[in-house]
């Protein structure tokens, strides 16, 4: 419930913004991890980088020569660095629901103190959700909740399915056009918890949108539109939710900013995400 948005609208009338010089201390360099295992059969990826100062203006520095393994309790998968900081599992594998995956990152000395550190994380995969159907509809004057610049012509993707009343479910949604990921950054993924619709029959909730003023999101006749529905666990939901809140920035109505949680040990930043994916596609037809 982005209630603050409703209030914020009123305030925009009176407030002005301008750039400001801020003198900030340097934080210590920490390991930044972007790792996932999904239900897709593929070579899964781990990206390692160094954290930097806030005003650092270049690509983050990759972390090389790490030794990475992922284990599901019975099998262990080795990873190899394909590009600087980009590690891929040696073999293709698909994550299985109910299994707990453990990530280990070794041979890293992020703070360059001569001591090698090891980073560990584990996460359990949830059962994929069953999506009944999806539908596209056009809104000529749509406003997104998060960003006041995203206003205008949108194609919205509606979801039809039933939430399980027995379980506390966390959902993630992102879309593809013609098999190309449109919502590829983490801030574009919609994450939602079923607190306010537990057990409900969802009859057309808009879970994804295509901004027709953005070149990569324009829909044309007979495009194939695919919705990816992620069954994520609560820890990953919290992580993405907090990251998105952080990305929106501070406002008068937000609490004091804090550091977002990570499931990786040893002070690393980032997350080892493990989730199932359900894909639902339709063909877009413009009349």
């Amino acid at each position: 419930m982005k209630y603050t948005y409703i209030i914020a609208v009123i305030l925009l009338i009176t407030a002005c913004a301008e750039e400001m010089d801020v003198d900030l201390d340097s934080g210590e360099t920490r390991l930044s991890v972007e790792a996932s295992v999904t239900s897709d059969l593929k070579k899964h990826v781990v990206k390692l980088k160094e954290s930097s100062d806030v005003f650092y203006s270049k690509e983050a520095i990759p972390v090389n020569n790490a030794i990475i393994t992922v284990s599901d309790g019975s099998n262990t998968f080795q990873y190899t660095e394909k590009e600087p900081g980009y590690y891929e599992s040696n073999v293709e594998f698909a994550g299985q629901a109910g299994k707990t995956y453990s990530l280990s990152i070794a041979n890293v000395d992020i703070n360059k103190d001569g001591t090698i550190e090891e980073y560990l994380a584990s996460s359990t995969m949830k059962q994929a959700y069953t999506v009944d159907s999806i539908k596209l509809h056009f809104d000529p004057d749509y406003e997104t909740f998060s960003d006041d610049e995203d206003v205008g012509e949108f194609w919205l993707l509606s979801l039809y399915m039933k939430d399980n009343i027995e379980t506390e479910d966390c959902y993630g949604f992102a879309s593809q056009i013609n098999d190309v990921m449109v919502h590829d950054t983490i801030t574009e993924v919609l994450v939602i918890k079923d607190i306010f619709f537990n057990g409900e029959q969802i009859k057309g909730a808009d879970v994804s949108g295509f901004n027709q003023s953005r070149s990569d999101e324009i829909l044309t006749n007979l495009d194939k539109v695919t919705l990816e529905t992620y069954a994520i666990n609560e820890a990953y939901y919290d992580f993405v939710d907090q990251l998105q809140e952080m990305d929106e920035g501070q406002s008068m109505f937000s609490g004091p900013p804090g550091n977002i949680t990570s499931n990786i040990s040893n002070g690393a930043i980032g997350f080892f995400a493990v989730y199932s994916i359900t894909r639902t596609s339709i063909i877009h037809k413009t009349e």
Binding site: I13, D21, S32, F55, F197, A205, D206, L243, M252
Partner: protein
């Protein structure tokens, strides 16, 4: 002859005597040659100049007593009055014979009400002072005073804020009820009283850390968009800091905004904000005065740690029908008041205000903004009826609401309060007040967009009954005792879907109920002429009452099941002793030292996580998981007046230790969360500092300036890794000035200036990439500061020329908020550059630079 008498009376007035006691006027003039005489000498003098003989009780030692007069000319009766007052005798003149009699000494009580002559309003805190005894008292919040003294012949003066004074010479031989009406016009007398008696209230008053402001003072100062705002004026006082710019919330001596008890005619107000805090709900036209207790909170009040803001509504003009109002940039106001019926025993007040901010939106180029509805209104009503001198009934009510509406969304919120009070005099020494109170704060938020359509409601209601007694034991002891019981009903949040399409299911945060009670007794005791002690004790009880659900939390704040209690079940109880102590010691007629200690307990708090606060914040009670917050405050102060008490200075230092302080975990989810208590973290806090204040009450220049140095920090387990951190209201240096200067009879200029250290803030000190976005790594909590905050506001008030035979009085008010356009950051955010997302930049958002406004106010 006439002009001699006239000039004589003037001289006599200058000596401090204004009213004559004698039955028949004797205009014989007596010339005194010495500054003092013995009784016998004086009588001989009188006899030689006028031929009057005299008798007196021979067993008294009257003949040797000395009378101080000064070398003057006196009318005989005035001379005898003066002598009688000094000797404590009464006299009668029969033909050419003056007979003196001793007044039998016994304890008597004078009591009554002190009211305004023009409007019949109670004059809260008006003083009654007996010159010969150097004793006095002040009227309580209903204008009632009572003073027990030995019988005698006295100069009794009544005064209010130095502007309204009346002096009477009274022979008080038995209990007497004296109702006084003070007028504002008697300028000459005012001067005399100030010089003769020394209205060194600030110095003499036993309480400290208290600031009293009449609404007339508030109205003189510049205001944002010309909207007179009590809370914004309170924020200009030393020791008080606005929670953020444009916020109605404020921090007193490092406390949190929810630690201030706001009482409107004794009913608690739970959200004082209009338009998200830019204005407060208190409409100046309906109010008479306010009193802020920054510490030294009286034993009769409890429930909040930091301060008490006691706001009183006007009773309504009891003399004649009148009205006032104004047309401003933001709102228009109208107040009507007057007596009901012929016997003038009943009076009423009705006051309303409504904003028309909607009209501004219509000017917007944005179509969406244009269609929005944004307004607020306030309604104050009060009726008071005087059955007789012993019984009086008041009924007052307030209702106000804000409404924001766009095509899809709606938010409305507001308060309602009702106060029913019955003042009853059991005797001239025992005053009682029975009060019934009701207060409600609620809001509704809704969205009408398809699948996400929902409505969300929240409601808080209070029902209280209160009994207070003032027992005016004698002139040295004033005992107060009483109690209050409040039933709180919390409905923190209930959300449900709207319409067929909506997927939102019913979600209700558990409702809860509580009973908060307190009983107290206190005494103010004068010991000698210099020392006054105040001591009191309050015993507070808090019960959680079923129906209620309590979640079981482990040490990591994880929920493991819950316990449900059935209706009417008192399932949890907290009790606390709250001692309140104070002393005043007079060093000289113009200086004193004061000290105080108070313990306060707070059983309910606000889910306010942002510094500014928002209307959706809800109050939640203490419970088995949430211990009551406690505070111990020690304060010491030095008070000194200058220039005939027209300049009051004070220096106060304080140290405050707070226990069971509550803060919220990072990314806390505070609204619509059944498991709210799992988001809380507990610890302690402390605050200390000193406040220097100078109050000016000169002929033309009025107002105050002050400097505060203060620190406040918290140590909370689970926040900032358990390390101590600055409270969001930690602002070390703070300078403020609020002054008005009368240019001439019709023109007044005023200015507010504030300078303070920037508020604490948490900034990112690092970043890491994650799937196309940045994760910011933040510093320790509140380890940075925003740039220093300063601002100047100006106002000019021009009154229309007064015309005889015209009741209508108008005035124009021109104000300029933030006169030099300082861009004080409201908040700072770090964002990725649009052109190069690898670059981050800091951006400050600021409010209001140069806001001019015009208001027209009228009275009839």
């Amino acid at each position: 002859m006439k002009h001699i008498i006239l000039s004589l009376s003037c001289i006599i007035m200058l000596l401090g005597n204004t009213t004559l006691l004698s039955q028949n006027r004797i205009n014989t003039i007596i010339k005194t040659e010495n500054t003092s005489y013995t009784f016998n000498e004086l009588m001989t003098l009188i006899k030689s100049q006028s031929g009057y003989n005299y008798t007196y009780p021979t067993d008294s030692k009257l003949n040797q007593k000395r009378i101080h007069l000064g070398k003057k000319e006196y009318a005989l009766d005035l001379l005898l009055d003066k002598a009688s007052l000094q000797l404590q005798v009464k006299y009668r003149i029969f033909e050419k014979q003056i007979s003196f009699k001793l007044i039998p000494k016994r304890s008597v009580t004078i009591s009554g009400y002190i009211r305004d002559q023009k409007t019949g309003e109670d004059l809260i805190g008006a003083s009654c002072y007996i010159k010969e005894l150097q004793k006095g008292t002040v009227a309580n919040v209903y204008g009632f005073y009572s003073l027990s003294i030995p019988s005698g012949n006295y100069t009794v003066s009544y005064s209010f804020l130095g502007t309204k004074t009346e002096t009477r010479i009274l022979e008080i031989s038995k209990d007497q009820s004296i109702n006084i009406e003070l007028g504002a016009n008697n300028q000459q007398i005012k001067e005399i009283i100030v010089t003769a008696e020394g209205k060194s209230k600030n110095v003499e008053r036993a309480e400290m850390s208290v600031i009293k402001l009449p609404v007339s003072t508030v109205k003189r100062l510049p205001a944002l968009l010309g909207e007179v705002d009590l809370i914004k004026t309170v924020q200009m006082l030393p020791g008080v800091k606005p929670a953020s710019e444009g916020s109605t919330g404020f921090s007193v001596r490092g406390g949190n905004p929810d630690q201030n008890l706001l009482l409107l005619d004794e009913a608690p107000v739970y959200n004082a904000a209009h338009l998200l805090g830019f204005f407060s709900i208190f409409n100046g036209d309906a109010l008479s005065d306010l009193k802020l207790y920054k510490g030294d909170i009286p034993a009769s009040v409890g429930g909040r740690l930091s301060s008490l803001l006691d706001i009183r509504m006007k009773n309504g003009n009891a003399k004649k029908f009148s009205g006032n109002g104004g047309i401003g940039t933001v709102s228009s106001r109208l107040t009507l008041e007057g007596p009901i019926g012929k016997n003038k025993k009943t009076s009423f007040l009705l006051s309303g205000r409504r904003s028309y901010a909607d009209l501004f939106l219509k000017l917007s180029s944005d179509e969406d903004v244009k269609d929005n509805t944004v307004y607020f209104y306030d309604l104050n009503a009060k009726i008071n009826h005087r059955f007789n001198d012993k019984n009086r009934l008041f009924v007052s009510a307030y209702m106000g609401r804000d409404k924001f509406k766009s095509s899809d969304n709606e938010l409305n919120f507001g308060n309602q309060t009702v106060t029913i009070r019955w003042n009853h005099l059991f005797s001239n020494k025992l005053f009682s007040n029975t009060t019934l109170l009701y207060s409600k704060y609620n809001y509704e938020l809704s969205n009408r967009l398809g699948a996400a359509a929902f409505k969300w409601k929240s409601n808080l209601e209070d029902y209280s009954t209160k009994l207070d007694f003032n027992y005016f034991l004698n002139s040295n002891n004033t005992v107060k005792f009483g109690g209050i019981v409040t039933y709180h009903q919390f409905e923190p949040g209930h959300a449900f879907g709207l319409g067929e399409q909506s997927i939102i299911s019913d979600y209700k945060v558990n409702e809860s109920n509580a009973l908060e009670s307190g009983i107290y007794v206190s005494n103010k005791q004068k010991i000698g002429n210099r020392l006054t002690l105040k001591y009191g004790l309050r015993f507070s009880i808090f019960n959680n009452i079923g129906e209620g659900t309590v979640y079981n939390l482990n040490e990591n704040y994880e929920v493991g099941g819950s316990t449900t209690y059935k209706k009417g079940d008192f399932f949890n109880t907290y009790t606390n002793w709250e001692p309140r102590l104070g002393l005043k010691y007079t060093l000289s007629p113009v200086s004193s030292v004061k000290a105080s200690y108070s313990r306060t307990t707070q059983y309910m708090q606000l889910t306010q996580n942002s510094t500014g606060g928002m209307p959706l914040d809800v109050w939640f009670p203490s419970s088995p998981n949430v211990k009551p917050q406690k505070s111990d405050q020690f304060a010491l102060g030095y008070f000194r007046n200058f220039r005939d008490n027209t300049i009051e200075m004070s220096l106060e230092g304080y140290y405050k230790k707070l226990h069971n302080t509550i803060d919220f975990k990072d990314f806390a989810d505070l609204l619509l969360n059944k498991e709210l208590e799992a988001e809380l973290r507990f610890g302690s806090a402390k605050a200390y500092g000193f406040e220097f204040m100078t109050n000016l009450n000169l002929n033309r220049l009025q107002g105050w300036f002050g400097y505060t140095w203060s620190r406040t920090n918290r140590t909370i387990k689970g926040i900032n890794n358990g390390k101590s951190y600055r409270s969001p209201y930690d602002v070390p240096h703070d300078f403020k000035a609020a002054l008005s200067y009368k240019l001439n009879k019709r023109t007044l200029i005023s200015a507010n200036f504030t300078y303070s250290t920037g508020a604490p803030v948490t900034y990112p000190v690092g970043r890491a990439e994650y799937q196309g976005a940045f994760i910011k790594v933040y510093s320790d909590r509140n380890s940075y500061r925003l740039p220093d905050n300063h601002r100047l506001d100006l106002a000019l008030t021009v009154k229309n020329k007064k015309k005889p035979n015209r009741k209508w009085e108008g005035e124009w008010n021109f104000s300029l908020y933030n006169a030099y356009g300082r861009k004080n950051p409201w908040y700072v955010t770090f964002e990725q550059d649009e052109d190069n997302p690898k670059i981050m930049k800091a951006e400050k958002t600021y409010l209001f630079t140069f806001v001019p406004s015009i208001t027209y106010n009228f009275k009839f």
